[in-house]
């Protein structure tokens, strides 16, 4: 057998760098792999926040990172869904609830019955049958319940700097060496990194380099055949303002995403404040104009300074080249919509673990990694694009363009199959399940034209009774859930912070 990869250097900043280092150390530290982090200057501002999907809990669990630390140290608020408003003219807002798929419904789910019900005059919104959406609306947190037939879960809105600090401390206390530095030069030999020269002159060698530097792409950007392909054709926003407002009381159990004339505004509840994102197209408006209208858009007074940054959705031709692997936004970049920020890094890191190179001599794993990253990137892009494509804001240049512009075939097929029959073609590495796509499509106004013929095999009185039962059951389950603030006060037990300091 050829020599193993023994030394991995992670180069990056903020949560992505520490997520990568934590997973590497956890999975491979015991096998003798040495992990070192070259920590680039943080790009985060005090106002920055991350919106994390529920899947991140699984990542923390595998690391052995307790959720109470997020609540105790990261200003985290549990969110049970995302609420979208003003995307479709006068249509009411909708909530994408974080439901968990029910195995009984795998083939013929409730959605098909809802489509028929709707044709028969049912006027109850789709989201009223989603446990997560109803819980979110009621401001309640679904706990890991016993074997209920309907289940939902929650993610977190987090303070970005605090979360980074928590992960950093966790990684360093696990024995990983870290050095704050910046990159002076990257020395290439063919398609491999022979060494990094840091700004202080140190030369760093490794068997494998992980680029977790986000859109800076300090390593992958220098590798051959890794050019960046922009997705601006489909995702037009290129600017982002992050601000802060007072905490909402009581804390809502959802993130709120509202469209406006030139883009969208997000409200992310944290324990001590509300993070405000404004994402927009600079061809349509100016930073100053958005800044000025931010209180109006957020319908909240803005506290202190806001931070302005750029967005460039797109993907690298290859994200693993030679001995350099990009994880997270250095591989592909999207808008901070649909809670994908940490999700992108999480998925890339999980794939790197599953495909961790067997030897240091050659990396045939790269080809598969690159295909997987392209697939997950395409699927998530399509989800974000769906919001833009399905908008019903008329006579506004940005939205008219997005509605009329053709979408890629991958999304086209999803839209077509759903509009025709309420089915979602899921692709490989589709990390959002049927229910997520269905909520978005229906929420933005697609009502499937027909339903699965097996639905008619159930007598109509029974169908009506089951629809009513489902609503009653959801009301019962939600009624038993704690409100967000009660959940927070019971979780913020004294001692959680000390635990972290000793961790």
């Amino acid at each position: 057998m050829n020599r193993r990869v023994q030394h991995v250097v992670v180069v990056g900043a903020d949560a992505p760098a520490w997520m990568a280092a934590a997973a590497l150390q956890r999975s491979l530290g015991g096998a003798g792999v040495r992990v070192r982090v070259i920590e680039l200057p943080s790009l985060l501002q005090p106002v920055d926040a991350y919106s994390a999907r529920p899947e991140l809990a699984g990542f923390h669990h595998r690391l052995g990172l307790g959720e109470e630390l997020l609540l105790g140290l990261c200003n985290a608020v549990p969110v049970t869904g995302q609420r979208f408003s003003n995307w479709s003219g006068g249509a009411p807002p909708f909530i994408l609830g974080y439901d968990q798929p029910s195995p009984d419904e795998a083939d013929l789910g409730f959605t098909q019955y809802w489509i028929k019900g709707r044709q028969k005059g049912l006027r109850t919104a789709f989201e009223s049958f989603s446990l997560g959406a109803v819980a979110a609306k009621a401001g309640r947190v679904p706990l890991a319940t016993e074997r209920a037939e309907l289940r939902s879960t929650f993610g977190y809105d987090l303070d970005a700097r605090a979360y980074t600090a928590l992960l950093r401390q966790f990684v360093i206390s696990g024995g990983v060496e870290a050095k704050a530095a910046s990159i002076g030069d990257v020395q290439l030999e063919d398609d491999r990194i022979a060494g990094l020269i840091l700004a202080d002159g140190e030369r760093v060698e490794a068997d494998l380099f992980v680029d977790a530097s986000g859109s800076q792409a300090v390593l992958i950007g220098r590798m051959p055949d890794s050019e960046f392909h922009s997705w601006r054709e489909w995702l037009p926003s290129d600017r982002m303002i992050v601000g802060s407002a007072k905490a909402l009381r009581p804390h809502p159990a959802f993130s709120q995403i509202s469209a406006f004339r030139h883009g969208w505004v997000g409200l992310f509840p944290l324990q001590d404040r509300t993070a405000i994102f404004a994402v927009y197209d600079s061809r349509q408006t100016s930073d100053q104009e958005v800044l000025d209208s931010l209180p109006l858009l957020a319908q909240l007074p803005i506290d202190g300074d806001a931070a302005i940054s750029t967005l460039a959705p797109g993907i690298r031709e290859r994200s693993w080249v030679g001995n350099c692997v990009a994880v997270g936004e250095s591989a592909f970049s999207l808008e901070p919509l649909d809670a994908v920020q940490l999700h992108i890094t999480h998925y890339c890191v999980s794939q790197l673990m599953a495909l961790f190179p067997a030897t240091a001599a050659s990396f045939p794993e790269a080809e598969l990694y690159n295909r997987i990253v392209r697939r997950v990137a395409t699927n998530l892009r399509d989800l974000q694009l769906a919001h833009y494509k399905l908008n019903r804001r008329f006579d506004e240049p940005l939205w008219d363009h997005c509605r009329d512009h053709p979408v890629p075939g991958t999304l086209r097929r999803k839209l077509d199959a759903f509009a025709a029959r309420g089915r979602i073609p899921l692709y490989d590495d589709d990390t959002v399940q049927e229910q997520g796509w269905e909520s978005v499509f229906i929420g933005h106004g697609i009502i499937p034209q027909s339903y699965d013929p097996r639905v008619d095999a159930k007598p109509e009185p029974q169908q009506i009774a089951e629809v009513q039962d489902r609503m009653a059951r959801i009301a019962e389950l939600v009624g038993a859930m704690p409100p967000v603030d009660e959940f927070l006060s019971s979780s913020l037990r004294p001692g959680a912070a000390e635990l972290a300091n000793n961790g």
């Binding site: 193993r4 097929r413 199959a417």
Partner: protein
Amino acid sequence: MSKPLDIVILGGGTAGWMTAAALVSLIPLSRCRVRLVESEEIGIVGVGEATFPEIKKFNDAIDIEEAEMMRATKAAFKLGIEFVDWGFKGSRYIHPFGAHGPPNMDHIFHHLWLRARSLGLTSQIDDYSFAAQAARNCRFEFPETRRPTLNSTYTYAYHFDAGLFGLFLRGLAEQRGAARTEGKVLEVILDPQSGQVRSLVLESGETISGDLFIDCSGFRSLLLGQALGVGWEDWSKWLPCDRALAVPSERDELSPYTRSTAMEAGWRWRIPLQHRTGNGYVFSSSFIEEGEAADSLLRSLDTKVLGEPRLLKFTTGRRTVGWEKNCVAVGLASGFFEPLESTSIYLIQIAIMNLVRLLPGKSIDPRLRDEFNRLMELQYERIRDFLILHYKLNGRDDSEIWRYCAAMDVPESLTSKIELFRHSAIIERYREGLFTPISWLSVFTGQGLMPESYSPFADAIPGDELISKLEELRAEIADRVDEMLPHDRFIQRYRAAEPVGVSVAAEAHL
């Protein structure tokens, strides 16, 4: 409510009656009326006496009582497929319907096993498959479904008489409302404007019209291929066998697995049923004469032959689309694979289920058609690659066909899979498609492709601890398998066989 959809199924073999039975069982008669046209003069191919575990989902969905079906079709249980002489002469491995190792470890178990092998352990991967070990010992019981245990790691399928299965489904379909018309098709009438199939004219002069036509006419593909002119994609350069000789022999040991033995110009199946053993030789006419193949087949039988070998001719490949205009092909009319991995009935079943989900109205929505075609293309191409793998990875150079296959170029999608497994034991998984990484692992390693390395995380466990754990696991599997009933006794006890005098009385006292 609008008028029901008139569905006409052409052909009454396994595909035709599975389709009819599923449609009338799953969809109320107010939504669709089903008529099947078949001729008793036209023989059926009766593909696939061996099935894949997915068949149970189909049977459950249409409310088939398992023991009743098994009695009617002379069925036996099946836990996997044994491949003999494929890797090299004298080699054998089982591709089991289940995972290797303890429950919920299938994504990492083979890395641990490979590490142990690098330390000197000499076991094979199927030594750690509960299903494979039960199969080898001719034992059977239903898998545990409530909690993760050693015997929750598998599923099962059946060997049955496909002709009887067709008859069984015909009875069920007719009882549940499917109509049957006896007759041969003389002419297919297309609508001059839309090009859709409008009606079938039978020899009797009767005209059968419909909204949707299901082509179950077998290799001839009368509607999709002939009337609508859908093209054919030929895969015989990768899967060169084009003939099969089938012959039954007397019942032998009721082993709960299919056996596939590599031969001088193809391979031979052995399928044990309650009343007989099905045998057949799949070969390539470019590499052996038919007479020689028949002699070879007859010489190889374990028990007394019952009748003359029957010849089937085929080409491996598929229609470029399975659904065109108002016609959907199910079964051989849409494509053909040799029965190496028992995929024929699975492909029928998955086409039916996709059709049910995407059933059109009286006017065809092309978006439903496109989704059906996308799903079926994935199924066919992924099965294709998996079958090619068996030929490509053969370790024999004692006859021409095996040398040809070992040297042939294979689809790029397969080459990269093989190379990645060779290097680091990594197996890509996919969402749509029958074969999971467990299946790929079985064939890779069973045919002698031992990876050069394995995932480094396996190095974290001390070597001696790992080896002793694996030894314990083997012993545990062996102990647990010993507690199972012999397969034939289990069938008797389950009342899945017609009673046979004394043994039933004996079982009653157990």
